[in-house]
Symmetry: C2
Subunit: 217 residues, 2 copies
């Protein structure tokens, strides 16, 4: 297909597709004449991924390029590659540190959960920052809460990884999009679950009060 | 105590404490002379909450004022009050809409989970936006995933609400700080759980490969 058809299929302006070509995010099409190129379904698929990463997730062109490189060249060590791809996602600024003991809270929490800390990945720094903020804000994560959060996230992760595509490139896509797109769903569902439980408590209290009144009358 | 002692106890500069007084976030102390006031432990407690909301969570002075008002005047309907307090937290811009069916995805998802949608709270709009983004990004939430996420968030909510303080004002504080400070912990733990499962898969694969090689030799 021509670039106009490709752009239409991806629901993007032609100028945007040309920009992605110039930035090297989208590989060039096959030259069909001196001034024209044709594109195939792989281009469309890649364009949809770029649109998701830039348009939906909100990544920069540079961060998108880093992720596409990992999709194209995932290598043999999928564990490292998935970790590197997730590291590109926000929250930024949680770069691994060099201290002797850079993440004391994260290390202790992961040890309590029987997990293996890997300071190479920024999620360890992210956990340290989150635990420090909870402490500073006066609502630290105690052992009971850590256990519950740890168990729930382990189950979520087992479910997510069960659905990991076998192809390594596709696995990188899935991990990146699943993290970036599903985290907001999870947080919204948790807030709504709080509401639901609060609503049930209110109804329960209402019922108890009625029962109480009936008993008295 | 004097304002200098109060500031020191809260680990804040005196100028910041004066600013919170001017903004009405911190109630005035008892006048001990024409130019001096004394403060007590309730001032210190309030100052620590303000510090958590502004300094740690990153709320604006206006949003902090809204939450403090709900802490001070929680009213009788704790369900509504907790919802209103959580609504002040980011993500902003998820204001309730007026359409006939403003949140089709959220409504369907909550119905599937047996929960009661409440469009008065912005978490419903937040869920709609998150589900729409997952769809647009090419990784929609299917029924299996919704069920797992729904179940896990319900358990987390039950745990959180079990620890809700009986006092309504304290409950508002707990709900706001628990949402703002514990969401990042949860997301970091989920990312690390993904890593852990991926690591176990890698080790498992390694073992299988070794076994395979030994069988062949």
């Amino acid at each position: 297909m021509r670039i106009s058809a490709l752009a239409a299929a991806a629901d993007l302006p032609v100028a945007t597709v040309k920009y992605y070509l110039r930035e090297g995010l989208l590989p060039p099409g096959a030259a069909s004449s001196a001034t024209q190129a044709t594109y195939d379904d792989r281009h469309l698929q890649r364009l949809r991924l770029i649109r998701a990463l830039i348009g939906t997730v909100g990544l920069s062109v540079d961060h998108t390029r880093q992720i596409l490189k990992l999709v194209d060249e995932p290598g043999d060590d999928l564990y490292r590659t998935l970790g590197s791809a997730i590291d590109v996602l926000p929250p930024q600024g949680a770069a691994p540190r060099d201290d002797a003991d850079p993440y004391p809270r994260a290390r202790a929490a992961l040890a309590a959960l029987g997990r293996t800390p890997d300071p190479a990945f920024s999620a360890t720094a992210q956990l340290e920052a989150a635990l420090a903020a909870a402490e500073a804000g006066g609502l630290p994560i105690d052992d009971d809460r850590l256990r519950v959060y740890g168990e729930m996230t382990a189950r979520l992760a087992a479910f997510d990884l069960d659905h990991l595509p076998a192809d390594h490139g596709a696995a990188v896509e899935y991990a990146v999009l699943g993290t970036a797109l599903h985290e907001p769903v999870l947080l919204a569902l948790r807030r709504l679950a709080h509401q639901q439980v609060a609503l049930e408590l209110r109804s329960g209290l209402g019922r108890n009060l009625s029962t109480h009144r009936r008993t008295e009358s």
